[in-house]
Symmetry: C2
Subunit: 391 residues, 2 copies
């Protein structure tokens, strides 16, 4: 990681979302070490304006031109470039002053800016898992070309990253991501079908965005994380596994071939992996109180019942299929979850529709972003059609 004047310059893509806000909070805490130089947001002009006042970035971007124009009309007491659209986010990602780019735009929209960040050869803190799911091979190719350092920004992968960084991959038998199991993992499969939006959003451990909370209830989130782990850590399918762990304290486990299992634990707070992505290879004092296992008392572990969570099973399949399979799985799931959130379909329709759509997708390898986005768009369309026909 390149540093200027001992201050690390950070761009935050998706600055008004949950990861973005947490990133800025950490930067505020370590003012003498980090400086925000770029921010990119969606439609939350109000929150972005507030962030601009606090952090005085050199460049900002919004999704819509009208929002960017609104910002331009306001009075700012420092010079700043204001831009918009996908190209705007890419411009923030590729901004020359960046030392670290935190990529925290949700969904497939994060792909282009993430790729732009990887191409700079700087450090990328990756919270946008869809990038790796849809374009893992491409991102790995670009990062080895540019020398970019990709550090995962979510609890499970950050845990694996910490555990693996000093181990020899040949000596690793298995990397296990834990899943809280969401609100339904103890229900009968029959009881799952008609779960309401409200009950699916009632996650027992993490407070997150709506899309990812639904993905946690179907365990699709863990499926996407497995695919992400495959690309991040160069792991073959047989070395990846999942365990249900309702307390979400142990985030991941690495089983070494000599019988030792290494684990990473922490409070369920995104600030921990975000901070590590900023400070790695160093670790700075946490803003949080330390984890007291005698207060947590028990850590429980259960096998996953794949029959109950067919989307997780599909994600496991995706590990040994062509990239198009993962792209379609992710796109169709994103479309179906949004329909569920709008109450257009039942809970169990999510996986029924997604599995049908993915199985109808022609499998092929994909080597450029245009093809990736084309498969993504086509899959969404077919998902919407299927949902329309159902209703």
């Amino acid at each position: 990681m390149r540093k200027t004047d001992d201050i690390t310059h950070v761009a935050v893509l998706g600055s008004t979302g949950s990861i973005g806000q947490n990133t800025l909070e950490i930067i505020s805490h370590f003012k003498d070490r980090f400086k925000v130089v770029g921010l990119s947001a969606g439609k939350n002009t109000k929150r972005l304006s507030h962030q601009i006042k606090t952090y005085k970035p050199d460049i900002v971007s919004l999704r819509e031109k009208k929002d960017a124009d609104e910002l331009k009309d306001m009075k700012w007491d420092h010079p700043m470039e204001i831009t918009w659209g996908p190209e705007g986010a890419e411009k923030v990602a590729g901004f020359d002053k960046n030392d670290v780019i935190i990529s925290a735009i949700t969904g497939i929209n994060g792909l282009r800016p993430t790729l732009a960040a990887v191409k700079t050869g700087k450090r990328l803190g990756l919270a946008n898992k869809e990038s790796m799911v849809a374009a893992g091979a491409l991102i790995n190719q670009e990062s080895s070309r540019s020398g970019a350092e990709v550090i995962p920004v979510d609890s499970e992968h950050s845990g694996v990253f910490q555990l693996l960084h000093k181990e020899n991959l040949r000596e690793v038998n298995k990397v296990i991501l834990t899943a809280s199991g969401g609100p339904f993992f103890q229900l009968d499969p029959k009881e799952l079908e008609n779960q309401s939006v409200e009950s699916a959003l009632n996650h027992p451990r993490w407070s997150m965005g709506k899309k990812i909370t639904i993905d946690s209830a179907t365990l699709m989130n863990k499926g996407l994380e497995l695919i992400e782990a495959k690309w991040l850590f160069h792991l073959p399918p047989e070395k990846l596994g999942v365990l249900i762990h309702p307390q979400s304290i142990v985030h991941s486990l690495v089983e070494m071939r000599d019988g030792s299992v290494l684990a990473q634990l922490s409070r369920t707070d995104m600030k921990i992996p975000i901070q590590l992505a900023l400070t790695y290879p160093h670790r700075r004092e946490s803003l949080l109180p330390s984890l007291d296992l005698s207060k947590v008392k028990a850590l429980d572990f259960f096998e996953v019942d794949f029959k109950k969570f067919p989307l997780l099973e599909m994600a496991l399949k995706a590990l040994s299929r062509e990239q198009s399979f993962s792209i379609a799985l992710n796109a169709s799931n994103e479309a179906a979850v949004h329909s569920f959130l709008k109450k257009d379909i039942r809970f169990s329709d999510i996986w029924e529709v997604v599995i049908e759509v993915v199985e109808e997708t022609e499998e092929r390898s994909v080597n450029n972003i245009e093809d990736i986005l084309k498969i993504d768009q086509e899959t969404r369309k077919r998902t919407w059609e299927k949902i329309r026909k159902r209703n």
Copy 2:
């Protein structure tokens, strides 16, 4: 670690004990990588003879001259030096062909051979915790002089070793050793007093020698391990802690200052740390089936009630006292436990006697082995006297 012909030459001190036998079992499994060159034992001539036939070492030693003479009178089909006594064990430890010395003699008797091993500058696999407790400063001084690599051979310290080996000590907030709690940790203090030898020997998790099993029931074993950890990992007292964890699956935890906690888990089998001490920095396939957390189901953690385990509290004190304090604590405890095993004293007499004796010991720093052994002997004598007077 120096290697000859790609074969690592191993000496096992205490070869007929539990750790010794496990070490030889691993070596048998990895015949193409390890060769036994030296064995030292106590009085078990029969088992040692058997080991000699199997492993054909170049040098062996027994505690007593008469046992060595008995061995010399037997017919061996390979040339071998047979020696005896403390000097014999030291000779095995310092044998020129050794690449690795596993020090697994129990009690303070392991100190001289351990020091002899450290002085060779080879790798030392240290299972004799009393060496570090009584002579930590001296061993560290000798190992930095000779360049010897000290790798701990017990589950807790091997876990810490694996977790710390590439972390920056300044970034470590706390190293926590887990204790199973032994058979009594859920009893009332009042119920502890009159526990029988039989019930104290009934350890719920580990099958070990008698002395260490009693030390597990008083939690003194964990106390000795804390003192050992202080010297092995150069940790100040405030960075050391203990948690009760009845399942003994998590052996140790390292809390980093950024809020991440790294943990090492495995089956409760000594072969795992022994194997690592032999193969480090590499890891070889385990002889054991892998750990399945979904079968273990729950990992529980409890705070230690120090009032119930006053010897552990004494060990915590020892962390910030002169070495003489640790020497006396260990020696007096060893004497008192043997009296308890002979049913001369009650269970609670162990700590009552030990605490009295240690508090009467004049505190001072100790820099040579003669002084260490003198304090050790004097303390034992005072302990026996106190026990005699009580009865």
